[in-house]
Amino acid sequence: MTATTVNTHTDSTAALKKERRRAIAFGVFFLIVAAAILVLFIFNTDSQMVSTLKLNPTTRNKPIHVPDLVLPTQLTLIVLMIITGAIGAYQLGRGFKNAATALGVVFLLFIAAFLVWATRNKAINLLGILSFTVAAATPIAFAGLSGVMCERSGVINIAIEGQMLVGAMIAVLVASVTGSQWFGLGAAIISGAVLGAVLAVLAIRFIVDQIIAGVAINIFGLGITSFISQRYMQPNPELNTGGVFPRIAIPFLSKIPVIGPIFFNQNAIVYILFLTVLVMHFMLWYTQWGLRTQAVGEHPRAADTLGINVFRIRYINVIIGGMIASIGGAYLTIGSVGRFDENITAGKGFIGLAAMIFGQWTPLGTYGASLIFGFSDALQAKLQILGKVQVPIPSEWLLILPYLITIIVLAGVVGRTVPPAADGQPYIKE
């Protein structure tokens, strides 16, 4: 960051050189991915094989029927490899302006190649995988949006994981007691607001290092949820049966072929996510609050001079950020499995932060990035159905995929995308 902000001549050429080196590294990485498609997948196929991807849901809610996708395995893989290779070559030669998007496309191509290869001479329901992708992306997207909310105002929220954990537990607890998932969700949101307020007070009032404050909240969240789970929920299993939000097929929209069953036959929390993404996008760029938030995140001193209450904006955003994170947590329990287990988040709060960076601190980009993580999640869950012959990779190795992608995203995209300028810096009034 320091290297890119200075504008003297020598420094800028050094920065350009660094930029160029990164661009070349990216290009080489893309070519390696293309080579991996060749070695791992194409060499293990022959020209007779066919992959069938079903595009019609097996549920009762039937959209207009579309023919299944029947692909010649080897030819499809070769096409995917050529596209990946071309992206790599272009990156080496000219360089993409938006490297994050290029990286995202390459991830998708690789995962698609993997899918086509795994279904050689078999059929798999692609709709099922994509619909599961949207579901699996939901908690990650909420985590990422929470990050966007906080960091746009200049506060780093590492505490998302802890806020999600507490939200997940409170949601199932309250839903079990009241019998209503909506009450559970409401209680989770309140808990998120409280933990958001704790982070805000520590970071803004006490000027605690934001990462330490966040880690403390994460540890607290892990401790308190495990404590309550053992003290109350294990002796009383009826406290851990919150039920699950039912699927709602949205009229008309869910009848659209392919898109309908994927996006518009989900549960209420997923629809809340869609709304949150759109509302946040609108609010950040078209309202007074959004523009003030960005001013506070980029240059709090200037914002203060113009009469914006920096502290107030930061308090509001961090508290709302906590609420958004806790909805993601609630999804993990009352949105999918209906029960709480210790450490149920499994790092999703941190993956969400990677999605936020990948999405360049925008709500729409963050959601797009979450879908890539969700896709890799869905793949490892669904591919086990195909069995060992089709996918001779232990399922534990596939579990690594989201974490590995997170690291690659951080390694590849950080430094090429620009976080809010005052991100992570406490503001001290003069």
């Binding site: 941190f350 974490y403 951080l410």
Partner: protein, 421 residues
């Protein structure tokens, strides 16, 4: 050594006075932080106890009964914690028996809780040093959890795979394997930070989940490191086990304790008496100054992360080679998070870390008994640790609670560098 000579202009007596007062104030906040966290823990124990809650429902009819029930609940829990971790009363009684001509058997038995606390603090010393070294270099390693698992797996692998070696070859081999395993797992986030700018807080967490998935595969029944029908590694051969000191049933005190103390001293020497340590501390104290002074920041980041990972690896190694003799899933059991709390509590100083580790070892050991006697989930310790971190990081809260005055020139550690480099 260079820095002290440059400060020689200042009068010595003034310096010495300042130093002693800062030492005292440096102890006050951590002690009060731990105390306050324990008080909050006590309230949490009492007010999640159905008996206490029931008594408070009749508060207006029987106020003393409510208070007595609260006190009773806390006393049972913390009493179990104390007797399980120190057992001073039992030791006192056994001493009496011994002085009146009785045997030493009772004394040996009474000493078990105390020595178990020392034993439990051994991995904490290593893991705390790991995080502390990172803090000193301005790096926040929250991946000790994964690094100690890698260390333990490597050490145990060496420990069961080479039969027929004498202990003075086999044991060092296993120790070194654990050291290197942890170092590699720590160096990867260091390399990522140095050469790509990936923030270590996220990459180390991801590395944790990656090794958890890999070890699930290694250890599952039929996996490469599983023991037949059991999802755990084979038993470490006696030639690679860290020797125990006492033969009393349940007393597992082992030579690793001294290894931990020696390591703490070496780290102290490295940080405060060597050029490398000076560079590390400068990097942590003032990043820009370190860059302009010509230190190779990238190499140093990788070095610090590798060392940090190696120390965390040793935490797992010593625990596996001395206590368990095998590794299963859930081996690390939250030790990675404990280490953050105790590194902060010990102010990232090796001596402070050792003291904090002794405290946490005592707490953890006592909490095991508290769980079995008073049915308090052991996670109460995790909550207490989170509170300790908050109070250490925000000493203003403690000073406000106890009406303490603000000391001059106190600095809190800063790690937030946003997502770039």
């Amino acid at each position: 050594m260079d820095e002290s000579s440059s400060h020689s202009v200042t009068p010595k007596s003034k310096d010495a006075k300042k130093k002693s007062s800062s030492w005292a104030s440096a102890m006050v906040v951590p002690l009060l932080a731990v105390f306050t966290a324990l008080v909050i823990g006590a309230l949490l124990i009492a007010f999640t106890d159905p008996v206490v809650l029931d008594a408070w429902k009749h508060f207006f009819a029987d106020p003393m009964g409510a208070l007595a029930a609260t006190w009773q609940s806390i006393a049972v829990a913390y009493g179990a914690l104390l007797s399980g971790s120190l057992g001073l009363v039992e030791i006192w009684k056994a001493l009496g028996v011994w002085l009146h001509g009785g045997g030493t058997e009772a004394l040996a038995v009474a000493m078990v809780p105390l020595s178990e606390s020392l034993t439990a603090s051994v991995p904490f010393i290593f893991a705390g040093l790991a995080v502390a070294v990172g803090f000193q270099g301005g790096l926040f390693n929250i991946g000790a959890e994964g690094q100690l698992l890698v260390g333990a797996l490597s050490a145990v692998y060496v420990g069961y795979s080479f039969p027929g070696l004498p202990i003075y070859i086999h044991l060092p081999m296993a120790l070194i394997a654990g050291f290197i395993g942890g170092a590699i797992w720590g160096a990867i986030p260091g390399l990522l930070k140095a050469y790509t700018g990936g923030h270590e807080v996220i990459t180390t967490i991801m590395m944790n989940w990656i090794i958890i998935s890999i070890s699930a595969w290694l250890l599952k029944v039929g996996g490469p490191m599983s023991r037949g029908e059991l999802p755990i590694t084979p038993e470490v051969l006696p030639s690679a086990q860290i020797p125990k000191f006492f033969s009393t049933q349940g007393n597992r005190f082992h030579a690793g304790f001294f290894l931990a103390l020696i390591t703490a001293f070496l780290i102290f020497w490295l940080l405060y008496k060597s050029t490398k340590g000076f560079e590390i501390r400068m990097l942590g104290a003032n990043f820009k100054a370190a860059v302009y002074s010509g230190i190779n920041v990238k190499h140093l980041w990788v070095f610090v992360m590798a060392l940090s990972g190696a120390l965390a690896g040793m935490a797992g190694t010593v625990q596996a080679l001395a206590i368990d003799h095998w590794v299963g899933m859930g081996f690390s059991g939250g030790m990675g998070f404990d280490s953050i709390a105790l590194a902060l509590l010990g102010r990232s100083h090796p001596l402070g870390v050792v003291l904090a580790a002794l405290l946490f070892g005592t707490l953890r050991n006592g909490a095991t008994r508290m769980q079995s006697v008073a049915h308090i989930p052991i996670d109460i310790i995790t909550i207490i640790q989170a509170l300790v971190i908050v109070f250490i990081a925000a000493p203003e809260i403690i000073r406000w609670l106890y009406r303490l005055r603000q000391p001059e020139g106190e600095e809190a550690p800063i790690f937030t560098t946003s997502w770039g480099s």
